[in-house]
């Protein structure tokens, strides 16, 4: 990341404010993520980081402040609007339909129909193509799942999360992952982290919300520290140690 001639951020927020009655969840929060980086967002419980993330993914509409997607001013009317602008969010509670096959999940809501009248008149799905593209997509991300026809519920927790992350990797602009390793064991967490790197290496910026400090230090390019409703620091795993970051996060140390 060169700081001279700084690239346009993939997504930027300035001075976001969100109030719920007397409670202010965001108090002039700033945020930025550059193309091709993994930006971790950390903060203590109640620091307002989930409100920030919801604002970035369109689930919360801020009262004040501005957001820019690739330099263009933008306002999301809801999560689907953010999605239309190329932002894919993977929510903590696994955003997949477990009974459906992997391929169906990957293409849910963006199915491919057959060409010609079979598709336009009879609305027949091109299952073969979706299956082939699913296999290719998963192979590109180095996810070794044998059959795209198997139901997601037959997979392990890590694999399910893998499918959810792989689905988000169809995003045009960026990917937001909310606690992707929360429910996973060590080995499976490692696999999902590899997958996140893979997504980043394909050119998609990734916003990673996590409580898992070792994971954050392992894969983040930069770390956004959120405290009392605003950004207090942006550090890198090289510039700061884990105890220092925790100290900034809890207010024990000035940024």
């Amino acid at each position: 990341m060169s700081d001279n001639g700084k690239p346009t951020p993939a997504l930027e927020a300035r001075g976001l404010v969100k109030r719920y009655g007397h409670v202010t969840a965001m108090e002039g929060a700033d945020f930025e993520i550059l193309p091709g980086e993994i930006m971790a967002v950390i903060g203590d419980n109640g620091a307002g980081k989930s409100t920030l993330i919801k604002a970035l993914s369109g689930a919360v509409i801020p009262d004040e402040g501005e957001m820019f997607l690739e330099g263009n001013r933008i306002k999301f009317s809801g999560p689907l609007d953010a999605r239309r602008h190329g932002i894919e969010t993977v929510y903590q509670d696994l955003s997949v339909a477990p009974a459906l096959p992997i391929a169906d999940n990957l293409f849910l809501g963006r199915e491919i129909r057959m060409g010609g009248p079979l598709g336009s008149v009879f609305r027949i799905l091109d299952k073969r193509r979706m299956l082939a593209e699913s296999e290719e997509h998963m192979a590109n991300l180095k996810i070794g799942i044998r059959s795209m026809k198997q139901a997601v519920e037959t997979l392990s927790g890590g694999q399910r999360q893998g499918v959810a992350v792989a689905r988000s990797a169809f995003a045009r602009s960026l990917v937001i992952l909310d606690e992707p390793t929360a429910a996973l064991g060590v080995r499976e967490s490692g696999m999902v982290l590899n997958l996140i790197r893979e997504v980043r290496d394909r050119g998609l910026p990734v916003i990673l919300i996590s409580h898992n400090m070792p994971a954050v230090f392992e894969i983040a390019d930069r770390i956004h520290i959120h405290r009392l409703g605003r950004r207090v620091a942006v550090v890198t795993p090289k510039s700061h140690t884990m105890p220092e970051v925790v100290a900034i996060m809890t207010g024990a140390m000035a940024a």
Partner: protein, 338 residues
């Protein structure tokens, strides 16, 4: 089916996961194969017990006997796949048949217009069910329990408890038969099978069908992928209502009259057919082919027991036991999947 570059440390299943996956896959298989096995065993038994069972005429009769419940079960399957349930289907069908019969015979409308009105009334009831479920977010069980009573009462008020006879021929067309070889087949049976085929096509081959499954399986995920879930749910209930209208036309064809007491227990029979067919009452899993098999299982058991002279109450007993077995298998499969 080759995945390029599979290295050991990728997202492959661990041993325990694989065993668990195998167990639930086996149970999922069982819920698909269950109705087939039940059908084969029942048919084998009755073929052995009665020489009249496995004849073209009798098999055609079975299909004819299940055509009304089978048609209702098509709509019921769509609704149960969305994790809903419809108790009102039989009552809505009865209301539709009375509207058709009365419009044609008492009001003297053109029979086709009368049929269209009956279909519209049924579709409207479906839309009301769907509207209450989606907009006020009431449980489908309660909504349809309410509309069951409303439709039942309207049927009896509007018909003044009178059976309406002397229907125009166009209206009872689906009770007519044509002959292949020695076997008489009703047009209504064909219509039911066409409906099943059409629904299979929509559920399996179109995006709308996949969305119905996703909606029943994980509504929040479905909504977040951009599926307009409220609109889809409303559409499902409305289409189901329209299908009950078609069932109304079939029951008129079969009985030749408009009967306000028709279909009193058909709502439960349609749910039975769906559940026997392996569709989960929790939504998101099941198949329309299973429902057809489920309806045929009911038909074969009733017909077969009649042939060998067993009192009809035993048919109810056996169907009841089968339903419990089917739901238990589904519940077990779900528990395994955690």
């Amino acid at each position: 089916m080759s995945n390029a570059a599979v290295t050991p440390d990728q997202l492959g299943p661990s041993g325990g996961d694989r065993a668990r996956a195998f167990g639930s896959a086996a149970l999922a298989q069982l819920s698909t194969l269950g109705p087939v096995i039940a059908l084969v065993i029942a048919s084998g038994f009755f073929t052995f017990e009665s020489p009249r069972f496995l004849t073209g005429g009798n098999l055609s009769l079975i299909v004819q006997q299940v055509m009304v419940v089978g048609t209702l079960a098509v709509g019921q399957t769509l609704i149960i796949l969305t994790a809903g349930i419809d108790l009102s289907c039989g009552a809505v069908m009865a209301l539709g048949s009375i509207v058709m019969a009365k419009m044609a015979v008492i009001v003297g409308l053109n029979p086709f217009l009368a049929i269209a009105l009956g279909l519209a009334v049924c579709a409207a009831f479906g839309a009301i069910n769907g509207g209450l479920v989606t907009m006020i977010r009431l449980p489908a069980f309660i909504v349809t329990l309410g509309t069951l009573n409303v439709a039942f009462a309207l049927t009896h008020i509007y018909s003044k408890d009178q059976t309406i006879a002397k229907l125009p021929a166009a209206m009872t067309f689906f009770g007519n038969t044509f002959t292949i070889g020695q076997t008489d087949i009703t047009y209504g049976s064909i219509l039911m099978l066409v409906l099943f085929a059409l629904t299979w096509f929509v559920l399996r081959q179109t995006a709308a069908g996949r969305h119905v499954y996703a909606l029943g399986n994980n509504p929040e995920a479905a909504r977040l992928t951009g599926i307009k879930t409220a609109r889809l749910l409303l559409l499902v209930y409305t289409v189901a209502g329209l299908i009950y209208g078609i069932a109304a036309l079939l029951i008129i064809g079969r009985t030749g009259v408009g009967d306000p007491n028709a279909g009193a227990t058909d709502n439960l029979d349609s749910i039975t057919a769906v559940v026997l067919g392996g569709t989960s009452l929790f939504g998101g899993r099941g198949s329309i082919v299973g429902t057809l098999l489920g309806a045929l299982v009911i038909g074969v058991i009733r017909n077969g027991l009649q042939l060998i002279g067993v009192a009809s109450i035993y048919q109810v007993l056996i169907t009841g036991i089968l339903v419990i077995l089917a739901v238990a298998a589904d519940q077990l499969a779900r528990r395994r999947q955690g």
